[in-house]
């Protein structure tokens, strides 16, 4: 061990060269057909192929060189640092955290509060549409969905692959009740949440006896059933055409955002017409909803029901022998998670002005679950960061038109969002198998808070 940890030692370098060459060969074989050969249609609509050796060479080189560097230099360096740390006996969690680290949550919240104005200031009204709507609102919707799912998956440990069903229930509740009966957003928002919670209970009842993989499959089926009902019940839901012209939310009934009304927000404030005001308003609505979700989650974790959820995740039999009614505990977890999904759904409907079953496919459930797992199950901060990276990342991909220079003019970066998801997942799971924030914050203390060091916990057990 002592000899092999030295950088530049011939053994290490020889090994690095060997591994680098090997990685190059593997990359060559892997990408030969995917990257090296491209098929396209010629003028006569016949399918022909051409080779892209240059691009293939880049892929192979990147693989070989990065493997060489990682084996030869990066890994020995990390090993030496770890060894030095272990020798000095200093735990990784130290008292002196940076200012940013200690006040991260406060900074993040303040940033979110001023974000729309910041963007208005920097890029103006027209540019802000993109930053407030595509980035801000889009990310916050996913943050809220992931936090809602976190209650079911992260806290209660019930793997739910059909979470999008509750999102759909919320969205359609708002869309249908608003277009058929003309109820307002502020009335329907809680109602959608309640309806979604009701469906959560309906789903919960038959699956209470199931756990793990079996539960996952049943919830998956439930998600699909809801979607298929939405598609096929054409009399009410208009099927795949979806429901359009959904009413906008009003400013608590005081000002409307519909053009041509007497109490129009823009007119009332004497502003020039722009849809950006509505977007900014929606941004704050979803931000408030997110804060509500976080607040409820944090409060519930400290209450007996939240503790029961976490205990249920750990050991169901022990829970029962401690007098916990596992049936109602699971049901409340399902219902609470579903309720937040419903809130997010009705918000989604009012923001889009249009809902169709297309928006509630299984992929959405998978994305939300991926965010929860990547962020670290149970950790609100981790999940929020994961949502920013994953959803924000896919939005950023749209902006990367410069990649066309590298990959040719018909390269569309946003098609690669699933690749980004996969890559992020692999990287996070390699380096942080329990997600960004894998450690669980204790909720109860006798005297003072003491950090529970990660070094006390085994991998996969913390």
């Amino acid at each position: 061990m002592t000899a092999s940890t030295e950088t530049g030692h011939p053994n290490v370098l020889a090994k690095a060269v060997r591994e680098g060459v090997f990685a190059g060969v593997v990359a060559f074989l892997m990408f030969l057909l995917f990257v090296g050969i491209e098929t396209y249609q010629d003028i006569n609509n016949a399918l022909v192929w051409r080779t892209r050796w240059g691009l293939l060479a880049i892929f192979v080189l990147v693989a070989a060189v990065s493997r060489f560097l990682s084996v030869g230099f990066i890994k020995p360096h990390i090993d030496r640092r770890k060894l030095a740390k272990a020798k000095s006996g200093v735990l990784e969690i130290s008292e002196q955290k940076s200012f940013f680290h200690r006040h991260f949550l406060k900074i993040a919240l303040v940033f979110l509060l001023v974000y729309p104005f910041l963007s208005l200031l920097i890029v103006g009204k027209q540019g802000s549409l993109k930053y407030v709507d595509n980035f801000g609102i889009q990310i916050l919707i996913y943050v809220m969905l992931a936090w809602g799912l976190n209650i079911v998956v992260g806290l209660a440990g019930l793997l739910d692959l059909g979470y999008v069903a509750f999102y759909a229930v919320g969205a359609y509740s708002y869309a249908l009740l608003s277009s058929y009966f003309g109820f307002s957003f502020w009335l329907l928002l809680p109602m959608s949440g309640i309806l979604a919670a009701l469906w959560g209970i309906i789903l919960g009842f038959p699956v209470l006896r199931l756990r793990g993989d079996y539960l996952a499959i049943v919830t998956l089926a439930f998600g699909e059933i809801i979607r298929l009902v939405l598609i096929n019940w054409t009399d009410v839901t208009k099927g795949t055409f979806g429901i359009s012209g959904i009413a906008k939310a009003s400013f608590f009934g005081i000002w409307s955002f519909d053009a041509g009304t007497t109490n129009n927000f823009v007119k009332a404030w004497g502003l020039s017409a722009s849809s950006v005001y509505y977007k900014v308003f929606l941004f704050y609505v979803i931000l408030a909803l997110c804060m509500l979700t976080a607040y409820v989650t944090i409060r519930l974790r400290r209450m007996p029901i939240g503790r029961a959820w976490e205990a249920l995740r750990e050991d169901e039999i022990a829970c029962r022998s401690l007098g916990i009614n596992t049936v109602t505990t699971k049901l409340t977890a399902f219902a609470t998670g579903a309720m937040f999904g419903g809130f997010a759904g009705s918000f989604f409907a009012t923001r889009q002005g249009f809902v169709s079953p297309e928006s509630f496919v299984f992929l959405e459930s998978a994305v939300i679950l991926a965010i929860v797992v990547l962020g670290g199950m149970g950790s609100l901060t981790g999940i929020a960061i994961a949502a920013v990276v994953m959803v924000g990342g896919t939005e950023v991909l749209r902006e990367m038109s410069f990649l066309k220079v590298v990959f040719g003019p018909d390269f569309t970066p946003e098609l690669y969002r699933m690749l980004l998801f996969g890559l992020a997942m692999i990287i996070v799971m390699l380096f942080k198998p329990r997600g960004f924030v894998g450690s669980r914050e204790p909720t109860a203390f006798l005297k003072e808070r003491r950090a529970v060091s990660g070094s006390f916990t085994k991998e996969g057990h913390g």
Partner: protein
């Protein structure tokens, strides 16, 4: 003085599918006693323990606790009748801290005594106090057993069921745990029903004991009587002595 019965198991038969695990078991536990149940692997000791807790439920016979028939009650309601269990394999919550584990043990109606009860358990098991902020899964086997018993005690039980508290522990630690049980029994009058492989330690501790073979109780008597009984000695003590 006439002993007051706390738990009465009458002619209980329990099945796993078609396999009969308990073939008509009668066991009595009186208030303030330590009663142990010894027997070989697969004799049905743990099954009896779990039948008392209602999972699995007895197919025939009755379990009467404090004058109430609890045979058909769901497990969590049995637990709320203040029958606390330290189950086999300890089953503490590995990712929750010691303190949170204890919190889970206190039922809703006990939360008002919470601080007092926690202090009591920390006095009984000072090791847990040192480790209160540590995650349950990182404790040693003995500490986990202490936590499991401590968690059960948080429910202020009328009856404490212990399933193999000595499993996988060093003799010295077993001694410490058994001493703690004895202390609880003598100072607070806690009734304990104990299932054990470690027959010698269990019999020495107990007021009365039952011997179980193949789903049936074959012998019963005071701890001393059974310790002196040649059959018991041959089957469970010689060779297995600590």
């Amino acid at each position: 003085m006439a002993a007051e019965s706390l738990l009465k198991v009458q002619a209980v038969e329990t099945y796993y599918g078609n396999i009969r695990a308990l073939a008509g078991v009668d066991v009595d536990v009186n208030k303030g006693e330590i009663v142990s149940l010894i027997g070989a692997n697969g004799a049905g000791k743990s099954t009896l323990m779990m039948t008392i807790c209602g999972s699995p439920q007895a197919r025939s016979g009755q379990v009467i606790f404090d004058g109430e028939d609890i045979t058909r009650l769901p497990t969590h309601l049995i637990a709320r009748r203040r029958i606390a269990q330290s189950p086999e394999g300890r089953r503490i919550f590995p990712r929750m801290t010691v303190y949170e584990n204890l919190q889970m043990g206190a039922g809703l109606d006990n939360l008002k005594y919470f601080n007092e009860d926690v202090e009591k358990i920390f006095t009984l098991f000072p090791r847990l106090k040192e480790r209160q902020m540590q995650r349950g899964g990182t404790l040693s086997g003995g500490e986990q057993q202490m936590l499991s018993i401590g968690r059960a005690l948080m429910a202020r039980p009328k009856l404490l069921l212990l399933d193999e508290p000595s499993l996988g522990l060093a003799p010295l630690i077993v001694k410490g745990i058994f001493e703690a049980i004895k202390k609880l029994n003598q100072e607070e009058g806690l009734t304990v029903f104990l299932v054990e492989q470690n027959a010698f330690a269990a019999l020495k501790l107990s007021d009365r004991a039952y011997v179980m073979v193949n789903g049936k109780v074959t012998m019963s008597g005071s701890g001393k009587e059974l310790l002196a009984n040649p059959e018991v000695r041959a089957a469970y003590l010689e060779g297995g002595r600590h």
